[in-house]
């Protein structure tokens, strides 16, 4: 075996990753979370299917337009028809249809429902931060290992984990989705949408992982990088949500650009509907930009700073 080759580093990293309990615990958590989400969905669907229909009441079309069927129109004007007189068959069909569409969305949003993005971020902190903390980097560098190779070895290892987790969550979600079936039916078009969702979610998770990896290389310990990552996960939605509320809702400005900010693309990637041009740009270009940027910052600091 040749000394200091990338293959050696990758073999060692995969060996260590395979032995990391968090990786396997993460898989279990993903199955449990997916099951819980689907269980809630099944219960909801079951409840919707067993709603008692009241004959001769006003109904609401699935499209949302009120269809007034009451003998006296004037009496219905103050309250919604269903609240007053029960649920019609059309209402029930509408609810079931909405639930079915939600079921389809659960399948395409497979990484979101099992929290794989956060799990990968946590494992990344434990794995890379741990390498700094336990002195593995020290030992490898002192043996003349190239720092660039070391960095890319970690990135490829973690990228493989992202891929493995994405595939696993897709399989788990697919199995649970099959219980009630895809609505109306699962054909080639639906498979295409699912594959698009898979590709985009993989790309988004890869970008998130690279950002977290950069944080690990900046913090250089599992504890502080974990803290920083959780901080980012809490702060980003608060900051971006506030901006959206203030500018979008209160000031009435266009806030589509928020989807271009870091770690904001996953929700678009999970959609089962056709995407707009802006959404495609946000979900395809921005993750690549963030991967390149965070990789550069992480690598630069790793090369320039002394290793303790």
């Amino acid at each position: 075996m040749k000394n200091n080759s990338m293959t050696n580093l990758l073999s060692s990293d995969f060996f260590k990753l395979r032995k990391l309990k968090s990786v396997w615990i993460g898989l279990v958590i993903m199955v449990v979370l997916t099951f819980l989400v689907y269980a809630i969905f099944w219960i909801g669907l079951n409840v919707a299917e067993h709603i008692e229909v009241t004959e001769g009441v006003s109904t609401q079309a699935p499209s949302g337009e009120a269809i007034v069927d009451a003998p006296n129109v004037g009496e219905v004007s103050e309250q919604t028809p269903s609240e007053e007189e029960g649920i019609s068959q059309a209402d029930k069909d509408g609810i079931i249809l909405s639930m079915r569409m939600l079921g389809n969305q659960l399948l395409t949003g497979f990484t979101g429902i099992c929290g794989s993005e956060l799990l990968i971020a946590i494992i990344c902190c434990i794995f890379i931060g741990g390498e700094f903390a336990n002195g593995s980097f020290r030992i490898l560098i002192s043996r003349g290992m190239n720092r660039v190779q070391l960095y890319f070895s970690k990135w490829i290892t973690m990228a493989t984990l992202v891929l493995a987790y994405s595939v696993f969550s897709l399989i788990v979600s697919g199995i649970f989705a099959a219980v009630k079936g895809y609505y109306p039916s699962f054909g080639g078009h639906e498979f295409g949408i699912l594959m698009r969702a898979f590709g985009l979610q993989f790309l988004c998770n890869l970008a998130t992982m690279t950002i977290v990896m950069m944080l690990c290389f900046l913090c250089r310990s599992s504890g502080s990088s974990l803290g920083a990552t959780i901080g980012v996960y809490i702060l980003f939605p608060i900051i971006f949500g506030s901006i959206e509320t203030v500018m979008g809702v209160m000031m009435g400005k266009n806030v589509d650009w928020i989807s271009f900010l870091p770690m904001q693309q996953s929700s678009i990637a999970q959609l089962a509907t056709p995407l707009s041009t802006t959404e495609i740009c946000a979900v395809v270009i921005m993750p690549i930009v963030y991967i390149a940027l965070s990789m550069f910052v992480g690598l630069y600091t790793f090369i320039k700073r002394d290793v303790k």
Binding site: N3, S11, S12, K16, K19, L20, I139, S142, G144, K308
Partner: protein
Amino acid sequence: MNAIETSHLSKNYGGKAVLDNVSISIREGEVYGLVGRNGAGKTTLIRCILGLATPSGGEIKINGATSENALNYERQKIGSLIDSPALVMHLSGLDNLKAAALAFGHYDVARLKELMHKVGLNPEERMAVKNYSLGMKQRLAIAIALIGEPRILILDEPVNGLDPAGIFEVRELIQRLNHEEKVTILISSHLLSELGKVANSYGIIEGGRLVKELRSSDLEELCRPYIKVVVGDLKVALNVVVENYHAHDFEILPYNTLALYDLSKDIPTVAQMFAKANVPVINIYKCEGDLESTFISLMGGLGRSDSGEQRDKVFEDLDVRKPKRSDDSKQETHEDTRPLEEEINEPSEANVEEHVEEPIEQNSEETAEQNLEEQAEQNPEEADVEKDAEGGNDEE
């Protein structure tokens, strides 16, 4: 040929020089002991050699290589143990070795198991390393350093946390690697007695500077026996010593203590010499020279030849005439009407008084003890060191 060489190596952290112009040379096949206090710069020097820290200045040569790529290539042949053992805590001992061996490109399970046996660990033990004792972790870290049969070993405090049997085994291992496999070894250790048993060259670092580089033969010369005298009045005693000894034949130790290296004067003669000058002698005994006291004196004790500035300061503080140095004795004999040898052979009260500018005070033992206490308060560390040295060196 030198296996490792540094020339004018410097390293600054936040403007503070942690290494200052350090030039060491480690010859191929030798065991080089790096000695220094905590924070002296030993680990920083090792980290610079291993490429973990970028030097602020100077040059590093490993097997003659100087460029970064060539250095990295040569570093592949170096096994190292720096600071705490670098281990993956959730893995077993063997798995730790496997992970390291995979990265180094030396994956051979049979060889790894053999290595574990070599350092006294059981390869079949499946316990996670986090449950290992400190000594076991240290042994495992040494085993990792030995993966790939390195030609150079750099060990920073390798016997930390090891029990006496473990220390003995590591020492044996180091000696065996050096003698049988001709491995060049650089060891940094606080256990000077242990270092003395394995090293054949030494580098003494103090305050980021290389104080001295010694070969074993030089050290033997420095480790000569001496007479230790604790006096009641250092100032008067110094006058007596200056008159009777060459500069390199005595040393001022803390707590009114003098070390006299010229053994041509035995204990009764020395006692008589001080008695004539009315210097209270609290304690006088012969000490065998040892590594520890020699290193301590080289690292910052008021050394015979290497810390002249410090010694001069003592002389200035006490207002005592500075001693003659052997290298300028010739010149001084021209200036002085009396030859030096004559002075040494004929110590007299008159002779002593001639150089004492202030009248001699009759110091009681109480005053001497008070002085000792004051000095101990000022520098408790030295007090401990001195206590240890006294405890270990007393012959009478």
